[in-house]
């Protein structure tokens, strides 16, 4: 290479001189630049202001509660997805896992089953919920195991799970909504009270679904910023090889993110089932893409290594507010989807531009 020359104390100063200017390259602190650095929150503020002006009903407390109630499940899913995507994965099976865990829970809570000749009969509702959570967690950890140990792309593994779990949900429910009037006569077509409470009740005026969602946001935030697991997820997503060489058990981290995702999907399943008073095998179709959109709008890097929980929360709220606002403006459902697609792209293009311009 090159020859080592005589070293004086100056070389230190020089290396620092090479470095320091990088730090000083900053956009001047005008009001706009401060605002622009905020990221997706700008898009959200813009939407909120626009809809409040365009339709008087949008800003009312009952409507805001409604938005929160309707999108609680999306927030929960998106939090799990943020962990997975930050670890350079992606989970396409969340909607199907949600459906299968909710279906298992609803069937156990409302129907008599005969297994190995024994008749088990609607089981305790809390036990049913617990089993639903376990089903989701197992599905998630299976995803993780296949990705980490089977060494196949995340996309393929979870695509397989998406089909398989949907099929399992159909098997469990027999293709019928649960509860249906055929099977749960003594409940008169209603799910047990605690399940409905999870999705559609209020505590001190705050709807329960959003409360659960906020709890997952807090848990997600703690994992990402306060635990060793969080650091490891960022490292694995940012540079898998470096993480491995630094003694991080990459496979375990992958499995952990997918397992948490599975659990979150089951929680989201309970919340959605409670709100709709019904579980069925085809519920939550397409939510995997919706929650990925929320994560991406929130500024998480689809290739891993970068992501924030708060960004994802904002992304999910943007998706929810947009759907609700367009409804109130009487935009047809067909146009809503077109607009939704455009908004996703515009927000992410803007965010990428903002990052290049101002640094993350």
């Amino acid at each position: 290479m090159f020859q080592i020359k005589k070293v004086t104390e100056q070389s230190d100063d020089r290396s620092s001189a090479i470095f320091w200017p990088i730090k000083n390259v900053r956009f001047p602190e005008t009001g706009w630049s401060v605002l622009l650095r905020g990221g997706p929150i700008i898009a959200l503020l813009f939407l909120l202001i626009y809809f409040s002006l365009a339709t008087p009903h949008f800003g009312t407390l009952s409507n805001l509660k409604n938005i929160a109630q309707q999108n609680a499940y999306l927030v929960i899913l998106a939090i799990g997805q943020t962990l997975v995507i930050t670890g350079a994965g992606i989970d396409l099976s969340v909607g199907a896992v949600m459906a299968v865990s909710a279906s298992v829970m609803a069937v156990l809570a409302t129907q008599e089953l005969s297994i190995l000749g024994m008749t088990i009969g609607p089981v305790n509702v809390w036990l049913a919920m617990l089993i639903g959570l376990v089903v989701g967690t197992i599905a998630g950890s299976l995803n993780g195991l296949v990705v980490a140990k089977g060494r196949i792309p995340d996309f393929v593994a979870t695509l397989g799970m998406m089909e398989a779990a949907r099929g399992a949900a159909l098997l469990v429910t027999g293709g019928l909504p649960v509860p249906s009037h055929l099977t749960a006569t003594e409940l008169k077509g209603y799910l047990p009270e605690p399940i409905i409470w999870m999705g559609g009740s209020e505590i001190f005026g705050i709807p329960t679904g959003p409360l659960i969602a906020i709890a997952t946001v807090i848990i997600g935030w703690i994992i990402m910023s306060q635990t060793g697991l969080g650091r490891a997820i960022f490292a694995v997503g940012g540079n898998k090889e470096a993480a491995r060489v630094s003694g991080i058990k990459v496979d375990r981290i992958k499995i952990a993110t997918y397992t948490i995702m599975g659990l979150m999907a089951a929680v989201a399943g309970i919340v959605l089932t409670g709100r709709m008073n019904s579980a069925n095998a085809l519920m939550a179709t397409g939510v995997e893409l919706k929650c990925i959109a929320a994560v991406v709008i929130g500024g998480t890097n689809l290739f891993g290594g970068e992501g924030t929980i708060i960004g994802t929360l904002i992304g999910a709220i943007i998706m929810g507010a947009l759907g609700n606002g367009l409804n109130l403006l009487n935009v047809s459902a067909f146009w809503q989807r077109v607009i939704m697609g455009i908004v996703i792209i515009v927000v992410v293009v803007f965010d990428q531009w903002r990052r290049r311009r101002f640094g993350a």
Binding site: V7, S15, A242, V245, G247
Partner: protein, 498 residues
Amino acid sequence: MESSAFLLRAEAVDKNFPGVHALNKVDFDLKEGEVHVLLGENGAGKSTLMKVISGTLPKDEGKIFIHDQEVDLTSPHHARNLGIGMVYQELSLIQSLSVAENIFLGSFPKRSIGTLHWSRLYKEAHKLLDDFSVEIDPHQRISALGMAERQLVEITKALSINAKILLLDEPTSALSDEERGRLFDIIHQLQKRGVGIVYVSHRLDEVPQIAQRVSVLRDGKKIGTLPVEEADEETLIRMMVGRELKEHFPKEKVPLGREVLRVEGLTVKNKLNRLNLILHEGEILGIAGLMGAGRTELARALFGIDEIDSGTIFINGHAVKISSPWEAIELGLGYLTENRTDGLVPGLSVTTNIILASLKRLCTLGFLRRNTEKSFSEKYIRELNIHTAGLNQKLELLSGGNQQKVALAKWLCSHSKIMIFDEPTRGIDVGSKIEVFRLMNQLIKKGVGIIMISSELPEVMAMSDRILVMCRGSFSAEFQRGEATQEDLLRCAVIGGE
């Protein structure tokens, strides 16, 4: 120099990279039907010169003549059109395509309506391969071929454009002796047809077998060109080294402690051959050798990244099994990777990178102790004099030297007792280099044992207590501090054991 026998002539070619004068006014020429071997240590400028001639890199200054016509090479494509074929050190074939498709990549024969003319493609590929009596089925996928066959396909590809000038960059580094013989046969055939060949190598034993002339580069300068009759090994080695050792290495001698690491019969198939080594507390063990000799493979095997086929590793006298990096770290090993980007996460903060190998120790019940994290980070930034705008500065915004210091801090933070430094000073400025050496001194004073892998002979000689020389997967020599000259080291690295 008006003789038209020169296929290629380069005059005073100059090339600068940031911090490195890669080519310093190099003259070079090539005659018709000649094999001109280009020799030099790692980083002497051989590959850079090849890249300039093949149009991959633009030259800063100088002139290049082809058939006495001055040309300004703008791209590899341009060079190809002028009849310059290049075979890269890392083969550039597409594994999933067939031999024929690879040969004609970019210049597929087409039918008049614009679709591919498959039958002609295979016929022409067959003809080209036959020309060199190479028995490879053009329908076969590249992934099904061995290294030598791939090399031949690559050469055929380079010649498919009727190349009169062929540049071969270390073509035999991955070949067995028998495969090498086949390659040389082909080279002799090409010579008879008047093709001029530039052959980059660092295997001196090949020189008398194929070369007509030899040029030696050192530190970006051409040292000289000799006809092969005058180019005996001693002369060539003297030309290749000759770098002066100066007093900028702050080596401090530390009394050696007990043995911390012993390796017996370490073997990784086709890479490492029954290696034995011992490392003591407070010792710097230098490992010299040329690129591809297996130095990095040794580090990777010790650190559990690559699987070991046989052999035993003893740490503090106990036989251990290391099958993954986390086990290695638990046993007190640290590994500063050859390539910084293999060991650091560029998108994360300086702090996170520093504590990356110590996560377990910094967690209570899975929760990161943020205050401890911060104090560790501050401590190492201060001790290693890392220039960063703050604890949460993204790593990728730091200069190369500072990134290297972060990589070092990571292993200091994990309290490694045995450190493997693979090219610790590559690509960092002189000031940072000295700081890295000072840090090594501090480490050995604390009783850490260091294995230092480096291509810079002066560095190895100045910092090591003992030097092992590697050649083709084996240790070819061992020297105590001050015992060996650069010539000795290079001879053992190039030729092998005595």
